[in-house]
């Protein structure tokens, strides 16, 4: 899924689950997780030039602090 620069402040890409536009108010980092506002899917940023996302891995038993 390709991201796009709609203007200098907001970047978007397409949700891999529902194809809705997912907006980023600031430059994301690879590995950041965002939630699709439309379908609620957790998406992980897999690349930033352009922004691509994939469904984020599910929580594992050894995750946490």
């Amino acid at each position: 899924m390709n991201g796009s620069m709609t203007n200098s402040a907001v970047q978007t890409c397409e949700c891999t689950e529902c194809a809705a536009a997912v907006s980023f108010a600031r430059e994301p980092l690879r590995g950041e997780v965002v939630r699709c506002g439309e379908c609620g899917a957790e998406l992980e940023v897999t690349d930033t030039g352009p922004i691509t996302v994939a469904l984020a891995p599910e929580v594992q038993e050894d995750w946490g602090e």
């Binding site: 690879r30 590995g31 038993e61 946490g64």
Partner: protein, 300 residues
């Protein structure tokens, strides 16, 4: 150069990366999921003066840190500390050795003896997985029927790690617990987590407010941090220590977290937690560099 070792980038990792950048500290974000370590070839890793471990997976964290340590790269936190704090049995044993007050805990390794442990404890009892975080898979067991069911489910459905039955007394605390953030042996700040549910993790909806870290609380947390880092020569680490308040015994250490989350704690405490953490990592890198210079008789 400092390596910020990560998997998922949470708000915390973002804040830490921004802090490193703000201080103009050379650093690199390393995604642990992309790394391959050749344990006979340390060369690619020696450019790092320290590794700041911030992986969301404890398994990945320990494995990667062990590799870096094999190459002589200092890590925050060291693998021994991650191992100990990430395993409630190991934590409880270390705290018991050090005489740090904590809830009474029994360990059993079989379903039959687990039931006996719960019965010896009395009801309610709390069953926890030895490895786990965010308040996951905690069970308050109110009677024998529930105990039998939960123990059977853990034995049948759980993996090998659920074969260690961690049985703890239920502490009749006020509807809150306390968290103290440690850098080294210094408590830098603390929060109170209020929740109507007996599980008070903010991940489960607990609300944070500022805690005044009293001398009593500070001393207990210093003792806990010292106990948790004895395996690596002491000196404390970057830890979050959770405390319960028992109506009769006072403060009890509930658990120690090795890759602490702090996003909801900066505002209520007014303490720049990421800044303090980065300062610790930088100091660790600097000390390691000085030691290397002494050994090699060189300057970097």
């Amino acid at each position: 150069m400092i390596a910020l070792l990560h998997s998922r980038i949470r708000v915390e990792e973002r804040l830490l990366a921004e802090e490193l950048a703000k201080r103009n500290i050379p650093h690199e974000l390393l995604d642990v999921r992309e790394l391959v370590f050749d344990l006979s070839d340390p060369a690619p890793w020696l450019k790092y003066t320290a590794v700041f471990e911030r992986c969301i997976s404890q398994t990945q964290a320990v494995a990667a840190v062990r590799c870096f340590e094999a190459f002589g790269v200092p890590c925050v936190n060291p693998s021994g500390v991650i191992d100990l704090c990430g395993d409630k049995l190991a934590t409880t044993a270390a705290l018991a050795r050090a005489g740090v007050p904590q809830p009474r805990t029994r360990i059993a390794l079989d379903e039959g003896s687990a039931l006996r442990a719960v019965e010896e404890n009395g009801y309610p009892a709390v069953l926890k997985p030895a490895v786990g975080s965010w308040g996951r898979l905690l069970a308050r067991v109110n009677d024998r029927d529930a105990a039998e069911a939960i123990i059977e489910h853990k034995g049948t459905l759980g993996g090998v790690q659920h074969s260690v039955f961690y049985v703890q007394e239920y502490v009749d605390k006020p509807q809150r617990d306390l968290r103290v953030f440690m850098v080294g042996l210094e408590p830098i700040c603390g929060i109170v987590r209020d929740s109507e549910h007996w599980i008070t993790n903010t991940a489960r909806g607990g609300k944070a407010s500022k805690l005044e870290v009293t001398p009593e609380i500070g001393a207990m947390c210093r003792d806990a941090a010292a106990a948790a880092t004895e395996c690596v020569g002491g000196g404390g680490a970057v830890l979050a220590i959770d405390l319960l308040e028992d109506p009769e015994r006072g403060y009890l250490v509930s658990e120690i977290n090795h890759t602490m989350e702090f996003r909801n704690s900066i505002a209520p405490t007014g303490v720049d937690i990421p800044a303090r953490m980065v300062e610790w990592v930088v100091a660790k890198a600097s000390r390691a560099g000085q030691r290397a210079e002494k050994v090699l008789g060189t300057t970097r």
